[in-house]
Amino acid sequence: MMDRAQWPVTTVGYFFSALPWRGSAIASAPPERKQSIDFRLLSVQDFFASMAWDGQPQVVTTAEKGRGLSYQMSVRQFFGHIAWQGRPNIGVVPQIRHNPTKAPDLDLSDLSDLF
């Protein structure tokens, strides 16, 4: 039985031919398939590029391209991969400067010491 993750990179012909119409699974691998990859790990571009538009699937993995977006990344990594104006610098928290002029809260003994 075909893995659900392979559906987007499978030709229509193979998809239907792989179904167990006679009650028995077809054991043969899909033609010209290089490797299996979960489509959810692909970027949008890679996802659509890997579709078998002409019946010849071209699987491009994130690892092959050396970069790409994946929903398995952390939020920081995901947005960090996007070249925002060429300077990816997302989620940087500004340093809070300590204000030494703020007086500490007084208590009753402080009031008593006042007089």
Partner: protein, 239 residues
């Protein structure tokens, strides 16, 4: 203006029946209870009003204030201000004791474990609900051994209008009594600026006897609140 007793059942008023605060009985842990309809509980059958802290309250109008002050002046002359101050002082001393109790009952920790700003806010909120006006405590002069308390919309001054002299002696007594009881030190208070002198708010000076005596003298000599403030900041006292 609302006058209170320390207990809801006061034999002084010939009143022995304990009246429960209906909302407090239902929500004993509620803290935001200073709205008029929440803070007071009206017991119509007995004709009594208790507040959230189980004190019995008497509502008094401007006629009462005028009658009280003019009646005292009629009886004791210029010493009426001293009488009003003494009334306020005794009231403040007793209120300091009851405040410590209800503060701990409501919040589960004592005043000694609390921050000063929280103590002061908690103490004055009932007075604000009772119509004594809003206040502001100025601790900027703490290093000089005194502090200022500003009262906005004083019930006494608002009632008497522009009479050209300080009139909120009961407030001064209240502050001296309360703070003396709170920190267990003898403190005095004087009103150095009053709404009844044409100012926008009343200003009280709280400190030890020597500073208050000096301020009283300077005020008698015609010194303004700003003059007194400057002299105290410069460390001037009576020799």
């Amino acid at each position: 203006m609302v006058l209170t007793t320390s207990e809801s059942s006061s034999p002084l008023l010939g009143y022995s029946h304990k009246v429960d605060h209906i909302l407090k009985k239902k929500y004993p842990k509620r803290h935001h209870h200073y709205r008029f309809s929440d803070f007071f509980s009206f017991d119509t059958p007995s004709g009594s009003v208790v507040d959230w802290n189980d004190s019995r309250n008497i509502f008094a109008g401007e006629d009462f204030i005028v009658a009280l002050i003019e009646g005292l002046e009629e009886e004791v002359g210029s010493a009426s201000s001293v009488v009003m101050y003494s009334m306020g002082r005794q009231w403040g001393q007793r209120d300091a004791e009851s405040f410590k109790i209800w503060f701990e009952q409501e919040f589960g920790f004592s005043v000694k474990q609390s921050s000063l700003s929280f103590i002061l806010e908690t103490w004055w909120w009932p007075f604000a609900s009772q119509g004594w006006g809003n206040w502001e405590v100025d601790l900027n002069e703490q290093k000089n051994g005194f502090m200022f308390i500003n009262v906005f919309d004083s019930a006494v001054a608002r009632t008497l209008g522009d009479v050209g002299k300080p009139v909120c002696h009961i407030y001064a007594g209240l502050f001296s009594g309360f703070f003396s009881g709170l920190i267990q030190k003898q403190l005095n208070c004087i009103e150095i600026q009053c709404y009844a002198m044409g100012e926008t708010y009343c200003k009280f000076l709280l400190g030890k006897q020597d500073r208050i005596d000096a301020a009283t003298f300077w005020q008698t000599e015609g010194g303004t609140a700003r003059d007194i403030e400057k002299r105290l900041q410069n460390g001037e006292y009576l020799g």
